[in-house]
């Protein structure tokens, strides 16, 4: 009874977060003394399989059916269900991507299980796993144990493991023809909305505003700071949802991923979907009136207080320093 790990891809091009899942599965495998098998749903003899076979795995299974070309939750659940029935795994490990969020709970439900989702780490004690998940929008962590019989479905947050830590090796590739039933949804081609007009990935300094800015008029307060620093303005999702700033200024899992020298977060709580887009910044500054806001967990410098008091003083001091 091994560990199955999901390899996500589009037209046989790897989604690199899957290597994080491979690293996680290998680590769990070592702790529990179990082998790891990679599973790739595809409509052909997936050209990605050979690449994945270069990792330390028991084998690579290509679950093959013509209906697995474009992703649908129905086809993926059918394919996975058969792989699980055939392989009888104890654990199924995946990265918590949007695609996995879409089909993994459906798959687990077919086995009368649920997903222990979006985990940030695990510990293994005497053959039992304890998983850590963020709850309450990142304000608290919860250690969770698995119960009942396997298979256990576990997904890890992006960044919880390092993809480049996945151990290399050599594994045989096997093709498993799977049956896929009726598909009740018809996908169109994925697309990007109007190409981003600002490329924040090149910014040296970013001043980002969150819901703490309160109103569209107040964006000017942050703009003054950005001007003083020669920085670009960015935002958390609710600011762009409200059209206070255009969508191409959004940082996070559904927006841009940036790593400037300095990232100044004004009135941003630090939800994981925001943090994944900026946590690799050189120096992170957070201004937030809530001392417990999760953004402070990743900040190098923190100011607990009202941004409307802090920012004008910052602008004044910067101008003084520059004079």
């Amino acid at each position: 009874m091994s560990i199955l790990v999901f390899i996500e891809h589009k037209n046989c091009v790897l989604n690199k977060t899957s290597l994080e899942a491979v690293a996680a599965a290998q680590s769990i495998g070592k702790d529990l003394g179990r082998g790891v098998t990679a599973v790739l749903p595809c409509d052909k003899d997936c050209s990605l399989a050979q690449e994945i076979a270069g990792f330390a795995l028991e084998k690579v299974i290509v679950a093959k059916n013509e209906k697995l070309g474009a992703y649908t939750p129905d086809a993926y659940s059918d394919a996975w269900e058969q792989v699980i029935k055939a392989a009888n795994p104890q654990y199924v490990v995946m990265s918590h991507t949007y695609q996995v969020r879409d089909f993994a709970p459906k798959l687990a439900a077919r086995f009368e299980r649920e997903v222990v989702g979006d985990c940030i780490r695990y510990a293994s004690n005497a053959g039992k796993l304890s998983l850590t998940r963020r709850i309450f929008l990142g304000k608290l962590d919860a250690d969770v144990t698995l119960n009942g019989e396997g298979p256990y479905f576990i997904t890890f947050q992006s960044g919880a493991f390092r993809g480049d830590a996945a151990e290399r090796g050599s594994a045989p590739v096997e093709t498993m023809d799977v049956e896929v039933g009726e598909i009740r949804m018809t996908p169109e081609d994925p697309f990007q909305e109007a190409k981003a007009s600002v490329d924040l990935t090149k910014s040296e300094i970013i001043v980002a505003v969150g819901r703490g800015i309160k109103s569209q008029e107040n964006i000017a307060v942050a703009q003054q700071l950005a001007d003083a620093l020669g920085a670009d303005l960015a935002a958390s999702r609710p600011i762009c949802d409200s059209d206070w700033l255009p969508i191409d200024r959004q940082i996070g899992s559904s927006g841009q991923t940036v790593a400037p020298k300095v990232y100044i977060a004004l009135g941003i709580s630090g939800a994981i979907q925001h943090i994944v887009g900026m946590k690799n910044s050189g120096t992170i500054v957070a201004v937030n009136k809530d001392a417990e806001a999760p953004i402070f967990d990743i900040a190098d410098y923190g100011i607990v207080g009202d941004l409307f008091e802090a920012v004008p003083v910052m602008v004044e001091e910067i101008n003084k320093a520059k004079a």
Binding site: A108, L137, L140, N147
Partner: protein, 258 residues
């Protein structure tokens, strides 16, 4: 057209959370409660869909203690037609499968054309209750729906899903179907005074479920403040203006960007 909307009561976003004595959850009694954010958008989408068709009803369903009635009252005031309250006093101890199973039993006979849920609850953040529910009801689902093409509504419905990093994808679904709705998809309406008055006479049916133990429920062993990954230098000691002065000095002398 019948649309069921799942709405959950959760701790207020800005509330200060205190960990309970047994360290398994927070002290719910301490905090103000509100409707889960994305569920508000799910309701708005449902209302707009029924309005576009100019027929049908929106039924709100919540599983929670008596105190969760405030979620229902608010939804009815905004325009939902009726509600189903599945009364579970200790609902925060249930796993997502148990919640989905219990809801599936309570709404199966409603035979809704559409079910809208939020994409994730702001407290437990399972991100899966809706998807499990769809599977238990035997209907298709889509997650992270960011737009509903109401003009397409017939035996099928076209919806736009959000993918990562600014990508999107349209799918056409056979109905009945379940969609989990992303926050920010539209402007949520306020309850009007008329709506608040009308809500008082709208039907709310109460269901007292029989919840079976679920052997595969993951169990929370301990809840705690996240471990810090960085040494944060706190500036200003609670005085924002003093912090600002110190920060600029750091940006100048240590980070060297000024």
């Amino acid at each position: 057209m019948k649309i069921i909307v799942l709405m959950k009561q959760v701790a207020n976003k800005d509330a200060v959370l205190r960990i309970a004595g047994d360290e398994k959850w927070i002290n719910e009694a301490d905090v103000a409660q509100q409707t889960n954010e994305s569920d508000g958008y799910a309701l708005e989408e449902a209302l707009r869909t029924v309005e576009a068709k100019d027929e049908g009803e929106v039924v709100v369903c919540t599983l929670g203690p008596q105190g969760a009635k405030s979620v229902i009252k608010d939804a009815l005031a905004r325009g939902a037609h009726r509600a189903i309250h599945i009364i579970v006093e200790d609902s925060k101890s249930l796993s997502s499968f148990q919640i989905a199973k219990t809801i599936s039993e309570a709404i199966r006979d409603e035979k809704a054309d559409l079910i809208f849920t939020g994409l994730q609850s702001d407290d437990a953040s399972y991100g899966q209750t809706g998807v499990i529910l769809a599977e238990l009801l035997g209907i298709p689902h889509a997650t992270i729906v960011i737009e509903v093409d109401r003009a397409s509504l017939g035996d099928t419905l076209r919806v736009k899903r959000e993918l990562e990093s600014g990508w999107y994808q349209w799918f056409t679904y056979k109905l009945p179907a379940l969609f989990t709705i992303q926050s920010g998809i539209s402007q949520i309406r306020y309850a009007s005074l008329k709506g608040i008055m009308a809500a008082k006479s709208k039907p709310v049916s109460e269901v007292t479920p029989n919840i079976e133990p679920f052997a595969s429920a993951p169990k929370i062993e301990k809840v705690y403040m996240p471990l810090k990954t960085k040494q944060t230098q706190m500036l200003g000691n609670g005085d924002a203006k003093a912090g600002a002065v110190e920060l600029v000095e750091k940006l100048r002398s240590e980070v060297r960007v000024i």
